[in-house]
Amino acid sequence: MTIEELRKIAETERAAQKKFQHHVCVCIAAGCLSGGAEHVRDALNKEVAESGMRNEVLVKGVGCMGLCSAGPLVTVETAVETAVNTDVQMFASVTPEDAPEIIRSLDTGGATGGDLAAAGLHPCPTNVPFFERQKKIVLENSGKIDPERIEDYIAHDGYVALVTAITEMTPLEVIDRVKSSGLRGRGGAGYPTGLKWSTVAKTGEQQKYVICNADEGDPGAFMDRAVLESDPHRVLEGMAIAAYAVGAQQGFIYVRAEYPLAVKHLKTAIKQAERMGLLGNSISGTRFSFHIDIRLGAGAFVCGEETALIASIEGKRGTPRPRPPFPAESGLWECPTLINNVETFANVAPIVRHGAEWFARIGTEKSKGTKVFALAGRVQNTGLIEVPMGITLREIIYDIGGGVPDGKQYKAVQTGGPSGGCIPAEHLDSPVDYESLARIGSIMGSGGMIVMDETSCMVDVAKYFMEFCMSESCGKCIPCRAGTQQLHGILEKITAGEATPADVALLEELCELVRHTSLCGLGQSAPNPVVTTLKYFREEYDAHVTGDGCPAGTCGCGAGTRACRAETRLGAPGSQTSGEVTL
């Protein structure tokens, strides 16, 4: 496959798509799929066939469009004859019964939002902050291309970066470009990607591996799933470029078995890429060969830790081992191994294509590019967003997320999953980058972002994450195995209203112990939700242990009577009657 052949495929595909005047895209990623998106697509197809518009309307299943809370989503693109631009109309909460109306609206042309709403549809404006404040690099094709067709990806400049890299660039030039782009690992820790690549490239071994970590396990996080489901070729291309740069011939994608659609799309994508000669032996007629295999995770959260993940691929029990040696030096089967997250690989092709300077212009001084977040919890718009680094939490939650619904008060946002922390209102103007989030006690993490309002009890939130860490601890090292159990026990005691101030002191002591003595990142970061809630919401802990009950009235510490008592004593803070529980 040469660059000319690639261009030809792209042109043929674009021409074939242009024949259709209307493009009706149905989101068939996991979120909308669970809302019945497949039936919507079938109904639309049927309607198109029945109304005899087969040559004018193209119905295709595409990846995630982001606004998952309003799914199933359908967009209708109509090529306007006079302009180059296309006219895009998005519909939310589409049911199969809406299909005739949607197809009919194509005929009438410039139907206004009012007309569409009158016809029983839910038109969804795309000129709102939710869409306009985002910047899409990783998700640029998501919601636009058919993830099961390589031609569609190629028509959107796919594989140009790979072919350019292996035919026109040296491995060192590729690494230099990634280095100067400032890309950092999107799995959470933010290690400079270029530096990692150059370390693996420098090792003299013959056999090297590239691993894509797709064992996304944080509760409420689904960024990697969306990327794999919506644009699998982008990850394959990134991995192949990485393999060329570091000198590897074999790659593995370690994806959790709970993502069947992502696995299906990956398998299809690998097969298609191999058939086209974009993966496999002597790619583009060069001496570079690269094969990718899929390995399924068996549901252990700890296998997202790189050394545990490697053990799991080797067929061993998935437990971490002490580092050093780091995988870059001794990883899979003791060979040098490059291991990066899905989103990191997804950033590679655009960097190679557009250049390092382009990427480095986006973001802050130390955190370049964009970050995908899974916005969840008590916000108006939940879903998948991609924002430039350096945007403030306030912008994300209030502009993109549309603020806290039902007139409730914002309380905290949790970033980084069980390893992250809860950020209170006073830090809402903090920029979102690796350093700033670390400074306020949380982490960037892989991209989970859960918003909580006044009805959330922060002790309960801490308990929830501690329970997660306790049951997901691999059990190898004592502080994590036994320490998380003790921490959880104390938090349970507090939320049951049976604790004393001495228990809070013990909680703090245990947090210190587990954080500093655990073997791997899971244990070392497990106390974070407790530490940050203690730091910012100490009064809630105090209220639980001094007999005032749960201030939010939600954590089940016999809240009814206790909260009522507190209400009469302190004056009603208003929210205590609410029985809603988030998370």
Partner: protein
């Protein structure tokens, strides 16, 4: 140039004492050579290191994390602190967590007086446990004709797993489940007596630091462990290589 393998020598300080070491040695090995005590539970000379018990954590100047001495290799000019108030507190805390996790009542234990866990508590000055005791009710497997496994005494150090795999070559033992649910198992969690891979050599019993693995017929405080075979076997095998 000599034909010998070029192993370099490093100098480092451990608790202010200057020590010389080969570059392939760990901090723990060098400390032992110099009679500096570093507490360990999962480590046993002759077996691979797991880095799991975390008792051997040390401070290294310039590194912001605590490092396990058993798997950390020496480097030139390294300044290691083994004894500090902070480390002593952490080590006692870890030990307390172990004592609170399962049932470790010494007075009714077969290894009372010969137990690594017990003597470690004495050495580290652990006078009491200030975490709530969990006391899960775990089974005792006495199906093997000569040995017993009492999961209530197990600290999951994985010495039995490693000796069975690395020295005996049977890999009868392994660990199942996650977190506090972890348990040592024989074969695929079958009763020990029905294990087809177990050779009955008893090495696991001898390396077990507590009363989790013991010989049948031993009463309270009668089970002492004999581990002389391990350095002997390792030495003979290395000599043959």
């Amino acid at each position: 140039m000599s034909a010998h393998s070029p192993i370099r020598v490093k100098t480092l300080t451990i608790d202010g004492r200057e020590c010389g070491a080969r570059e392939d040695q760990t901090i723990l090995e060098v400390a032992r050579e110099n009679n500096i005590f570093i507490p360990t539970l999962c480590n046993l000379p002759g077996l691979s290191n797991a880095g799991a018990c975390r008792l051997c954590i040390v401070e290294v100047k310039g590194v912001n994390k605590l490092l396990p001495a058993c798997v950390t290799h020496v480097s030139e000019g390294m300044e290691v602190t083994v004894n500090s108030e902070r480390l002593a507190k952490f080590r006692r805390g870890i030990l307390e967590l172990v004592f609170a996790e399962r049932n470790h009542v010494c007075s009714v234990c077969v290894t009372n007086g010969h137990c690594d866990l017990q003597s470690m508590a004495l050495t580290l000055g652990m006078t009491h446990v200030h975490f709530p005791y969990r006391y899960p009710r775990l089974p005792v497997d006495a199906s093997h004709e000569r040995f017993v496994v009492d999961h209530n005494r197990c600290i999951l150090c994985s010495r039995c797993v490693r000796v069975c795999d690395e020295i005996e070559g049977a890999h009868t033992w392994d660990i199942m489940s996650r977190g506090v649910e972890c348990r040592v198992i024989t074969d695929l969690a079958q009763p020990w007596g029905q294990s087809e891979s177990c050779t009955g050599c008893g090495k696991c019993v001898q390396v077990c630091p507590t009363g989790a693995l013991s010989e049948k017929g031993k009463s309270v405080a009668e089970m002492s462990k004999r581990r002389q075979f391990l350095p002997y076997l390792t030495l003979m095998r290395e000599g043959r290589r």
